[in-house]
């Protein structure tokens, strides 16, 4: 063994030097990479804070745009390093603390992005319902508009029934269905009374119809409640970051 070591002393020293170099490279390069990821996480926090602030200020379009941008941010695991980073963290407590701080930030980031994403999906799905409700806007300049208005209500109901929405929007969808059904029912009663020349039934149906249109406001009330709930979740997430 001694002879071997004497004969290959240079080789052994070379190998040891190589190992030291590899270790040093792993140490510094790994550390540099992890530090970069810590910095990127901090930058992401700033970006999220900035977008969150924008989502609470300005016009509706700007708020929703910020929210959409926030919801689109990647939820990748920035703080997770390679195996040697874990090894470094066991050796150097400072790096371990930095890594833990990074993970804590990342968890909050993910919560904000998820909350923004859910709020964004809520707004997107609710906008679909609102779009179908616009069919109920009556153009009374058109000839025979009462018949058209009833058909428009039937189309609106069919469309609202046909869309898939996130669970938070379901109460809005249900309220919309109920209110449109009430309008269609009142239109039917009005047409039936008209066919029978039944004045009492006609006037009653007319009053019911007016009420049914006025009652559409209940959808907005349901929407306000559901969206407030969603926004509170988002607010809680953004306040924590």
């Amino acid at each position: 063994m001694k002879k071997f070591m004497q004969a290959h002393a240079k080789l052994i020293i070379g190998i040891l030097l190589l190992l030291v170099l590899v270790f040093a490279w792993l140490w510094f390069a790994g550390n540099a990479r992890q530090q970069t990821s810590f910095r990127r996480t901090s930058e992401r926090v700033s970006q999220v804070r900035d977008l969150a602030k924008k989502s609470y200020a300005g016009t509706r379009t700007n708020r929703v745009a910020a929210l959409t941008k926030l919801a689109g941010l990647p939820q990748d695991n920035l703080c997770r390093g390679d195996w040697w980073n874990d090894w470094q963290q066991t050796l150097v407590p400072t790096i371990k603390n930095d890594a833990q701080a990074c993970k804590a930030k990342e968890e909050k980031l993910v919560k904000v992005i998820r909350a923004a994403s859910e709020t964004n999906r809520y707004l997107t799905d609710e906008a679909k319902i609102a779009k179908h409700l616009q069919l109920l806007i009556v153009d009374n300049a058109a000839l025979g508009w009462p018949t058209k208005a009833k058909k428009a209500a039937e189309s609106a109901l069919s469309n609202v029934n046909g869309i898939r929405v996130v669970s938070a929007v379901k109460p809005v969808q249900t309220a919309a269905k109920t209110r449109i059904e009430a309008i269609i029912s009142a239109w039917n009663a009005l047409h039936t009374a008209s066919d029978k020349n039944d004045k009492t039934a006609y006037l009653s149906a007319e009053a019911t119809l007016e009420q049914a249109y006025a009652d559409l406001a209940a959808i907005a009330d349901v929407s306000d409640t559901a969206l407030s709930k969603q926004l509170n979740l988002y607010l809680r997430a953004t306040t924590a970051i």
Binding site: L123, A127, A130, Q134, V138, V172, S223, D224, T238
Partner: protein, 243 residues
């Protein structure tokens, strides 16, 4: 001494911490206010506010029904707003005719549904102070009411609606020869003279064979018309009563 200094340091640190906390938390308090309003994010309420039901055009059958009802209501309202006209009764000269019969029949005529009462006027006899005075007068007394009044016929002079006793008791020869009844003549003469008080002048026959206007001088000349004791629909108005 040492613990006193430490206490002051701790107090200062606490104050600094509290102020720092307030400074850092302030933006999030603003955020909370901004997040509370769903209208800042959703267009739902605006969409719904834009949906309104215009006035529905009424079908023709309903218009007709409502018009009929409105007319009935107007008629009922009109009936409800009946004008009451009071009158008192007196005699002048030597009157031998039954005054009670005169009063009764004159009142029946005035309030007959075929007569002036169709204007929603109710004639009520009062003891005195009526809006006009119905007089049963001896024929010779007629000219005393007005120079335009003749002892041959009945007359109206100012507030006096004067019925000639001779005509009341015997109508006119032309009326009688045409087969008119005395009761109809009495209807006619009371309606005609009261018509003057209501504001009407004389009228002519509107066409041969048609019923004569009550304001036509039917006792003198029918002009081809038929005897008619009652005012025609076209005569139902009164400048005196504003009807």
């Amino acid at each position: 001494m040492y613990s006193n200094i430490m206490r002051k340091i701790a107090l200062a640190a606490g104050c600094i911490g509290l102020i720092s906390g307030l400074i850092f938390l302030t933006p999030y308090v603003v955020q909370a206010e901004g997040a509370a309003n769903p209208a800042d994010y959703s267009t739902m309420r605006e969409t719904i506010v834009a949906i309104k039901l215009p006035d529905i055009p009424q079908p023709d059958w309903l218009k007709q029904q409502l018009a009929a009802e409105a007319a009935a209501q107007a008629a009922a309202h009109k009936a409800a707003s009946t004008v009451t006209v009071t009158y008192d009764v007196m005699t002048k000269g030597a009157v031998y005719a039954s005054l009670s019969e005169f009063k009764l029949q004159a009142n029946q005529t005035l309030n007959d549904p075929r007569g002036w009462s169709r204007m929603n006027v109710k004639f009520v006899e009062v003891a005195s102070g009526g809006r006009f005075t119905l007089v049963l007068a001896e024929a010779s007394q007629l000219p005393t009411f007005s120079s335009g009044c003749s002892s041959d016929y009945s007359c109206r002079a100012g507030r006096y609606v004067v019925i000639n006793q001779d005509r009341w008791m015997g109508a006119t020869s032309s009326w009688n020869s045409a087969g008119g009844s005395l009761r109809d003549y009495r209807h006619m003469v009371v309606n005609h003279e009261t018509g003057h008080w209501l504001g009407h002048g004389h009228q002519d026959c509107k066409g041969a064979g048609q019923p004569a206007p009550v304001m036509q001088q039917q006792s003198i000349d029918l002009q081809g018309c038929k005897f008619n004791p009652w005012p025609l629909s076209s005569e139902l108005m009164s400048s005196q009563l504003g009807i």
